[in-house]
Amino acid sequence: MALYSEKVMDHFRNPRNVGSIENADGVGEVGNPVCGDIMKIYLKINDDQIIEDVKFETFGCGSAIASSSMSTELIKGKPISEALKLTNKAVTEALDGLPPHKLHCSVLAEEAIKSAVKDYYDKNGIEYDPADFPEEHDCEHCCG
């Protein structure tokens, strides 16, 4: 079996929603260059709390790029409340699976989206339950 599923390779080769959004309503960046992956998510959110547009920029391996691409597809056009429910498991399943040592890429995607939504809430003075935005996991698990 190849390292990655066809779906992962498709999203890696033809990433959806690549780029940035000028004057984005929310921006989230997670990861660390020392660990070898950074994901940045840009959100355009309308008055109805719908994610009208989403873009990503990623520094990382094939599965990091594919996870970013897939997660943007999963939340585009959806209400924020739904985006916040996106789990790394859902991203992994949508990609037809990731190798075990690459699962952290899908975790980063989930965290990047949450971080962008949090940024939107902060910028607009919208109250939220901090429990919905757990601290980003630290880097210790992934590099020395």
């Binding site: 890696f12 080769r13 990433p15 690549v18 780029g19 960046e29 260059p33 020392v34 660990c35 070898g36 992956d37 950074i38 994901m39 940045k40 990503f56 920029e57 990623t58 520094f59 990382g60 391996c61 094939g62 599965s63 990091a64 790029i65 040592h101 690459k102 698990h141 992934c142 590099c143 020395g144």
Partner: protein, 401 residues
Amino acid sequence: MFVYADNAATTAVSKKVVEAMLPYYTEVYGNPSSLYTVGQKAKEALEDARERVAKLIGAKPREIYFTSGGSEADNQAIISAARLGAKKGKKHIISTKFEHHAVLHTLQALEKEGFEITLVDVHENGVVVPSEIEAAIREDTALVTVMYANNEIGTIQPIAEIGAICKAKGVLFHTDAVQAISHVHINVVEQNIDMLSISAHKFHGPKGVGVLYARGGIVLTNVINGGAQERGKRAGTENLAGIVGMTVALEDAIAHIDENNEKFAKLQDKLIDGLSKIPYSELNGDRNSRVKSNVNFCFEGIEGESLLLLLDDKGISVSSGSACTSGSLDPSHVLLAIGRPHEVAHGSLRISLGEDVTEEQVDYIVKSVTEVVEYLRGFSPFWDDLVEGKRPHVFKESSIA
């Protein structure tokens, strides 16, 4: 276009080698330990191979032990030296920070048994300084083991100088010559090498076969116990077809060292000059003291696995020292040992040429790498930060000499 440029990982078995091997599967298939004719014919072929391999490195046939490859040879050399040393109360071993894992992990296992390990620095250029080995040698040093050429960055080590130092100090000296044997002229006597490891699949021989040379008088410790093969030092029915194939491949490789080096040198220059034009990139390892087939670069702002997957889509087979490709969580220990920071080590690329690689293919590699690096930087937030000055650059904009 298909370009295989990962010859430091493995090589294609040459047709000549395959042809030389075939009779030992179907005709001379006897067990060399058997006394009847087909067994004794196999035994003759085995001893013929031993003589020929010995001659190629300036050794005696009795000093050649056939193994399953480079890793086994490294393990056995180091464990043997450790056991010999321990008998005399010597439990200190000197090596370098950027050895192959077959060496480093064996040393780590010995460390748990109570050996003390000193790993000397390999400096920014990836070359050991012999006087630093000399300074590290103690009364209780059992072994010095330094690779001949590094597998990732191709830098060649001053083996003859280190050999002379070890001889003068009376310390055993082993070298892992897996990446060097087909690129550098090696003579174990002239270069004062006590033990040396070779692997066949790095020079168009088959996988799963290698050599441990151990100077006469060095009593080896078995890593594999069982029958009396290899003078009782390596049990298991000999991989005769593999051994014959390796012998033919090694003769071919060594006969063509100078010719190949001349060809590789031109292509290496072309690759280095071409890739140096990519902004914020740098060659890893000394430009001059390196095997001519190796080019290893780091590119800021990108990650190596995505680079090599996209190059694979373009038909180019190369490798990277990023964490994602190393199978571990850290990037290459070799790149870290020469002082590359983690974030740069993740963006590395190793190209290792083979005899079939053409100038046209080299141009294609340079063009493709340039395109893919630019493409990946195009949506890398790390690259954006470097461009915007939010994070400091590691390299200069241009590394053109």
